[in-house]
């Protein structure tokens, strides 16, 4: 029996374009652009200077803040510029630009780690120093998740649901590097000292099940759990609900429900760190969508510009109407291609058509489809109606802040109301009002 939660939607997953295509290695570009913030938390400060030579995997930026994640050179070469550059959040950010010398000389200090010889504190520090964050897109520093969950967490989950349509990067990792995912699970079991790590994978990736099973340990420290194919199955709160039956209390963290969730690629990154010592310098990006000539799964260096990825996919069939960093349900819209691949970039989509139709005169017909689809059991249409003119008390009454912005309500709405946009306004208003108090 596949596990799931109540609510959610079943969009066409459109994964066929790339799910059968093996990961292709994109040669390292002549220049990489490394933004100082590829994670949730404080941005890093560069610790190299223009003209410095850097090794592959050498730390080039760091921050002393408790929630942050260092950044490493994804090629060897020379730092040519440290200046603000555009990135996927719509603005510019201080970035380190490295000219590739195409030698890929690894940092001599990089060496495999022996987890058995390390204390838990040392392990957390090692994961922090490797710059590992949540690679599913949320990019929360993994070391912080581990250290804040230690002692509280008894359910550790690897999230292989990848519920966003189009995106297949995690799927390909599970197919082609199953030992890395399972190996990461074994390490997490050791770190958290739990008897079992649950690997949850959606049923639309069944071809990965036998591959993963091949590497599952006999002592049961990592077990495979099928999940119903449904959006947003990969939401942290909902995969916890599906696999453990626990609900993360409103406004709290998964650790408060005794659970910790790690993305497939994050688990693989932990495995790679302990077996090779290499920090996060590359990632797998699905380039897909109706405007892309030849959709692909590309393994590329962090800091590779999107232009290079599009080039590798044969360019556009016709001028795109929409570019999206991430999946189509929660991804960020983009307006340029000179933005770099970051740690949380799992997909890059280009559409010929803007599929996002909004009614000219939206009129809610109260069909209740948004209510049925809301994974947080909210009443999206009422939050929307109160969003601009309603009282703050009404927005609190309808629990506007509990919205996880999955967009399911907006997807199903037959009247094409801009529900998500309205709810974002509502959330902002509630937060402003709370701050003023």
């Amino acid at each position: 029996m596949a596990h799931t939660f109540k609510g959610g939607i079943h969009p066409d997953d459109k994964k066929r374009a790339t799910s059968g295509k093996a990961i292709e290695l994109l040669p390292a570009p002549a220049q990489v652009v490394l933004p100082m913030s590829m994670h949730i938390g404080k941005p890093c400060e560069p610790i190299v200077q223009v003209g410095d030579h850097v090794y592959l995997g050498q730390k080039i930026a760091d921050s002393q803040a408790p929630v942050s994640s260092p950044i490493h050179a994804s090629v060897s070469g020379t730092v040519v510029k440290i200046e603000p550059r555009p990135y996927s959040f719509g603005t510019e950010i201080m970035s380190v630009v490295i000219e590739n010398d195409f030698r890929d000389e690894p940092d001599p200090s990089i060496h495999p780690l022996d987890i058995d010889a390390m204390t838990t504190e040392e392990i957390v520090v090692a994961i922090r120093e490797a710059g590992i964050v949540g690679h599913g897109g949320a990019t929360f520093p993994t070391s912080v998740k581990i250290s804040s969950g230690l002692g509280k967490v008894d359910k550790v989950i690897i999230n292989g649901s990848e519920c966003e349509p189009y995106v297949t990067s995690d799927h390909r990792i599970m197919l082609e590097y199953p030992w890395e995912v399972v190996g990461g699970g074994k390490l997490l079991a050791k770190i958290f000292n739990v008897p079992e790590v649950m690997l949850g994978v959606e049923m639309n990736k069944q071809d990965a099940f036998p591959k993963l099973r091949e590497y599952l340990p006999e002592d049961g420290t990592v077990k495979l759990y099928p999940l119903v194919t449904k959006y947003p199955q990969g939401s942290e709160k909902h995969i916890i609900k599906a696999l453990t039956g626990r609900e993360v209390p409103s406004g709290k963290l998964p650790a408060d429900a005794g659970a910790a969730v790690f993305n497939t690629d994050t688990a693989a990154a932990i495995y790679r760190l302990f077996t090779t010592g290499m920090p996060v310098i590359r990632r797998i990006v699905t380039v897909s969508g109706s405007a892309v000539s030849n959709p692909k799964n590309l393994e590329c260096r962090i800091g590779t510009l999107m232009e290079n990825l599009i080039d590798a996919c044969g360019g556009f069939i016709e001028p795109p109407k929409k570019l999206i960093m991430g999946g189509p349900m929660m991804g960020m819209p983009q307006y340029r291609l000179d933005i770099p691949v970051m740690k949380g970039t799992n997909g890059f989509l280009a559409f010929c058509k803007d599929e996002c139709v909004t009614a000219e005169h939206p009129a809610c017909i109260r069909c209740g489809k948004c209510v049925g689809s809301c994974p947080m059991n909210l009443l999206p249409t009422y939050i929307y109606q109160c969003s601009e003119k309603g009282e703050i008390a009404d927005l609190e009454y309808y629990n506007a802040l509990d919205c996880i912005q999955c967009g399911a309500c907006t997807y199903v709405c037959p009247a094409k109301l801009p529900l998500m946009q309205g709810i974002l306004v509502a959330k902002q208003r509630v937060m402003d009002a709370r701050r003023k108090k």
């Binding site: 001028p319 570019l323 929660m330 009129a363 069909c367 912005q405 037959p414 009247a415």
Partner: protein, 338 residues
Amino acid sequence: MYDLSQLKVSNSPHIRSEDSTRQIMLDVIIGLLPALALAIFVFGPRALVVVCISVIGCVFFEWLYNRLMKKPLSIDNLSAVVTGMLLAYALPVTAPWWMILIGDFFAIVFVKCLFGGIGKNFMNPALGGRAFLVASYPTLMTTWAKARTTLPLFGSSDVVTSATALSSLKNGKIPSDISILDALLGMEGGCLGEVSALALIVGGLWLLYRRVISLRIPASFIGTVALLTLIFHKGDAGAVQWMVWQLLSGSLLLGAIFMATDYTSSPVTNRGQIIYGIGCGVLTVMIRYFGSYPEGVTYAILIMNCCVFLIEKISQPVKFGYVKPATAAKDKKEASKS
């Protein structure tokens, strides 16, 4: 370099389902067609004329209102067509054309448009129109033509009137002149669209298949009526037969499948829909048993329409991760201690 001049930047989600208001209304219209076919079979072509007059009237009044009030045209969403069909279905086939138009006018202008148009009316427009006509023209609204009699296409006629199954049920008797099979097929007197139980059920299955409606409202409505009539049965033919007659006669199926499920005037919450359906069922039986009027479905639904706001208040779903305030306060205390 790539041409990025046509890019549009807008908020997520970037994809939408193919559902639309128009498609939903179209599905409802399709769901209503089997009952129309049976009505034409039972009452002759006049049934089609009544439905056409009503549909044209509703669409015309909505168009006129939009034009006069300088509002965006809203007839292309087909909701006026649905209202027109439903109102015609709730009229006797002998209804004169001017009465149909008065009903259309009241339904569209007073019940729907004056409250803000589609999605804003708190009552089902078709039922509101019917209730208005019942109050204004009680005789015309209760003249039932006998099944399979020839009727003129327009104008009034000296019809052979027949008692409906409901009126004999009102007297506590199982109808003697028609069989259950007649009731299923619609070979009885009654409103145009409500006579054939079978056609309505087929239409309902279509709506369920298309996911336009869920089972919650129809099942709780019909189930409540079934349960109550089973417990408080009358007549001498046994409880089950009494219940079956109660379910098949009058506008119960039309009301439960097509009218109570009207999105705008029913609750949006799952639990609310069940409460609403049960309320409709209880009121229907109360009116049928104790009211002065044989049929209770219209008023039962209209009364429950008015309660939707309250029902939603008490049936708001418990949000994901809800923590009872008492436990939250306790946790806080413990946290501050440690």
